[in-house]
């Protein structure tokens, strides 16, 4: 690896100041599980690595049933799924947090880092989009919010401007009769990059028989994670049945623009979007009815 300087700021202000002054000479590191691999392989260089894990605001995990969840960008996956309150409130998020890498990776990797790394296959991104997640960003000009679906702009590129840092992700509080789920397809059972990933969330009516709303998002089928808005919207007001779910899955397939590569062909990926959309919707519905 090329040599670099290392800085571990203890406040957002310090981090932003450094990032703003160094421009593209600095890179933010959270868990490091993607970045160190990329740097070692020479795919990314950074004369200055800014480790954000010691900033208290970025380690916040705050949840209440009104305001929902604020998840600091430096919170490793295991802290999410080991939190019993969060596990109960966001089982869909747990699906993703507990399958990124192996247990070792989950000890380091963060949802914030996963979003900022902006891989098309980022496992946590679809479900956070499906849950209506919003990025809280701090920068030289103050703070701003951006829906998660607008964060990834190209493979490996995110919407952060120079000097900006992702502080946390906010996820609305789960409503009654709501549920979410994330599934990815990989040839093994762990440790793979998603061939296709689908995150779905649903809000059912009091009877549990009709959709109030739904959000569906896809991984590994385009240069960035895809928010399949039409697919989710198609379910609003519709009864929960095979036909409506099938129709949504077909709209999700239409939203997918996959390529053929070593991990899968266009046909396989498109097919899997359909399968996983149906499966995640069904799990989300189960969870909505149960919770």
């Amino acid at each position: 690896m090329e040599p670099f300087d290392y800085l571990s700021p203890s406040s957002i202000e310090e981090a932003v100041k450094t990032l703003a002054s160094k421009g593209d000479q600095a890179r933010i590191m959270a868990g490091g599980t993607d970045m160190l691999v990329q740097m070692r392989a020479g795919r990314r260089t950074a004369p200055l690595v800014v480790d954000i894990k010691e900033i208290p605001d970025l380690n916040v995990v705050s949840y209440d049933a009104t305001n929902g969840l604020t998840l600091g960008a430096a919170v490793p996956c295991y802290k999410i799924y080991q939190d019993e309150t969060l596990s109960a409130a966001y089982p869909g998020l747990m699906d993703a947090a507990s399958l990124i890498g192996g247990i070792q990776i989950q000890g380091r990797a963060t949802i914030g880092g996963n979003i900022c790394n902006a891989a098309p296959s980022g496992d946590s991104i679809p479900v956070v989009i499906a849950l209506g997640g919003v990025c809280n960003i701090a920068g030289p000009n103050g703070t701003r919010q951006l829906p998660v679906e607008e964060m990834c702009t190209a493979p490996g590129r995110n919407a952060l401007a120079d000097g900006e840092i992702l502080v946390s992700v906010s996820i609305p509080a789960p409503q009654a009769k709501s549920g979410a789920s994330y599934l990815r397809f990989i040839p093994r059972n762990e440790m793979d990059i998603a061939v296709v990933g689908v995150g779905s969330s649903v809000q059912l009516d009091a009877s549990g028989q009709n959709f109030v709303s739904a959000r569906i998002s896809l991984a590994s089928v385009a240069p960035t994670p895809v928010f399949a808005k039409e697919a989710g919207d198609s379910l609003a007001g519709k009864p929960v049945n095979e036909e409506t779910i099938q129709a949504a899955s077909e709209l999700a397939q239409a939203a997918a623009k996959p390529i053929s590569d070593m991990r899968g062909t266009i046909r396989q990926r498109t097919h899997l979007v359909g399968v996983l959309t149906r499966r995640t919707l069904n799990i989300a519905i189960e969870r909505a009815r149960g919770g």
Binding site: P3, G31, G32, T33, P76, Q104, G107, R108, E190
Partner: protein
Amino acid sequence: MAGVTQVQTTLNGEVINFLCEPRQSLLECLRDVLGMTGTKEGCNDGNCGACTVIMDGRIVDSCLVLGVEAEGKDITTIEGMATPEGLHPLQQSFLENAALQCGICTPGFLLASKGLLDQEPDADEGRIRHWLAGNLCRCTGYDKIVRAVLQVSKAK
């Protein structure tokens, strides 16, 4: 050119100081700086688990941790698993169950298994298989490793 940083960390229960460059991984620091070669390199990109250590109670791949990040942390490596009184029950179980062949993945598996049983002393086969999926072994087919961990687990 980046300089050298002094890092203070607790390693196997002892507070130590070492010098490293920021670009050096914890794995490199353990092996090359501190001469503690029990932690093994298999892939250097977080996919084999051979370099697993326990950091502040969690298992991590030491190839994906910078040495400088060890500042103020509590780290356990394979060298810290046995005590003067004897082997850790997992070490003993690995021996008795022939859970190693070439042995290169063994330190990583032992630390990962310890990380599991420290927090879930009654892990069952399914849980063990899931937990150890970040550790590759190419010799054993995992059967005897899983049995060795199961023998120490309180799940029966």
